[in-house]
Amino acid sequence: MNVIGAILDHGSRLLPFALLLAAWQGVAGSGLADPAFLPSVGAIGHALIDLGATQSFYADLAVTFGRSLGGLALGAVIGIPIGTVMAVSRQAEGFFGPLVKATYSLPKTALVPLLILWLGIGTATNVVAVMLATLLPFVVYTYHGIQGVPRILVWSARAMGVAEHRMLWKVLLPGAQHAMLTGLRIALGFSFVIAIAAEMIAAQTGVGKLMFIYGESGSYNYMFAAVAAIMLLAYVADRITVAVSNRLLRWDDIENRLG
C-alpha cells in the first residue's frame, strides 16, 4: 500500500516535467521556432546520450566539479575557523567584521579578471575564485550559528564540569551544526556558479568552456544537452548535501532539518 502511494506520489511529482518536455516538443515540432534555436526534445536527448558515451565530456565535468569542490573545501577550511574565532573573541569580531561587511556586496565573479592577472588562466584562478566566493557563507553561518547557541547550554555544560577549552568542541560547534550545514548548502550552489562562470570568462577546459564551443560551432542540441547535464548534476549534489546534512542532524529537532 505504502509502495503504491510512494510511486503515485513520485509520479505526480514527475508528471510536470513530462508536460514541460511535451510543451517544448510541441513548440519545436510546430515549426513556429527555428530548429536551430529550439532543437526538439529528441535531438537534445540524442545529444545527451551521445555526450554520456564520450570520454572527454566526463573529463570536462570532472575538471569543472573538481574546481568547484576544491574551492569549496578551501573556503570551508578557511571560513569556518574565521567564523568561529569571530564568534568567541571580541577582538577578532572587531577585526573581521568590517572586512566581511565591506566585501559582502562584492560580486565575486568580478574577481576573476584580477585573478587572471595574478595567476593566469586556468585551475588556480578558478579554484581561488570559488574559495573567495564560498568563504563568506562559511564565515557568516558559522558565526551566527555559534552566536545562536543558547547561553543556557553553555552554563549547563559548565555546571556539569566541561572545561572551558573543550566548550567549543563539546557545545558550541555541535550547536552551530545546523547553521553551518545551511551555509554549506548555500556555498555549494555558489561554487558551481563561480566555477562555471569563471570558465566562461576565460578557460581552456571545463563544461563552461565546452558550452561556448558548442554554441559557437552551432551544435545547439549539444549545448542544450550540456545545460541539462549541469542542472541534473547540481540538483543531485544539492540532494546529497541535504541527505548527508539531515543524517548528521538526526539528533536535532525535526524543524531544524534542511528541506
Binding site: R13, P16, F37, G94, P98, P113, I196, F224, D238
Partner: protein
Amino acid sequence: MAMRVIWGMAHWLGQAVRAAYPLLLLALLWEVAASMGWVRPVFLPPLTAVIGQLVALMKSGELIGPLAVSLYRTVVGLALAISVGVVVGFLMARIQAVRWLLDPLIAFSLPSPKVAFLPVFILWFGIDHLSKIALVAFTCVFPFIIAAYAGATTVPTHQLWAARAMGTSSRGLLLRVIFPASLPSLMSGVRVGVPYALVSTFTAEMIAGGGGLGGELVLAQRYFETPSVFVYLLVMLAAGYVIDMGVLRLRARVLRWHEE
C-alpha cells in the same frame, strides 16, 4: 558650545576609525606594499594610483556610461523577475493545480547554476541587453516566487474569512489583503534578489561583452590596465553596497506598520 561640537566630532571620528580600522589597515598595507615595490604595479598598483584612475575615468565618462548600462540591465531584469515571481507565487498559493504543476519544476531549478543558461539566452536573444536581462530575470525569479508564495500562505485564514464576510471581491482580496500581508516576505526577497541581479549582470557582461561595468572590467584586464581593473571592482562593490542600503531604507518605509 563650539568645544562641545568639536568634542562630539572627535568622538564620532574615533568611533568611525575604531569601526573601520581593519579596512584602513588593509588600505595602508596595500599602499605601502605597492609603493615600496614589493609587488609589481601590473599586479597591484598603489591605492593612490587607483584613486587617481577613478577620478580620470569619472572625468572622461568611461565610468558613468558603463555604470548606467549595467544598472539599466539590473533594474529591468529585476522588475521582470518581481512581476513574474509575484504573480506565479500568488497563483501557487491560491490554486492547487498551479502548485502541483510548478512546485517540482521550481524545486529542480532552484539549486542549478543559472549562469549555465547564458549560452542559451545568447542564442535566443543575442549578445546585447536582452540576453543579460534574461539571465538576471531567470536568476532572480525563483527567490521572488518563493517569497511571494511564502508571504501569501502566511495570511491567517480568519483574515481571509473576515474580508470575504465583509464583501471583498476576489480581486480585492488579492490586492488589499494578500498583497499587503506578503510585503514583509517580498521585501526580504528583494534584499536577497538585488545582489543576485547585480552579480548576474556583471557576470553576463564579463562573459559576453556588450559594455557595462563587467565588459569594461574584462577589457581593462586584457590590456593590463590594472588600475582600471581595481576601479571597476571598487565601483561594483560600492554599487552593491549603496543599493543594499537603499533597499533597507525602502523596506523600513514600506513596512512601517509591521513589527519585526
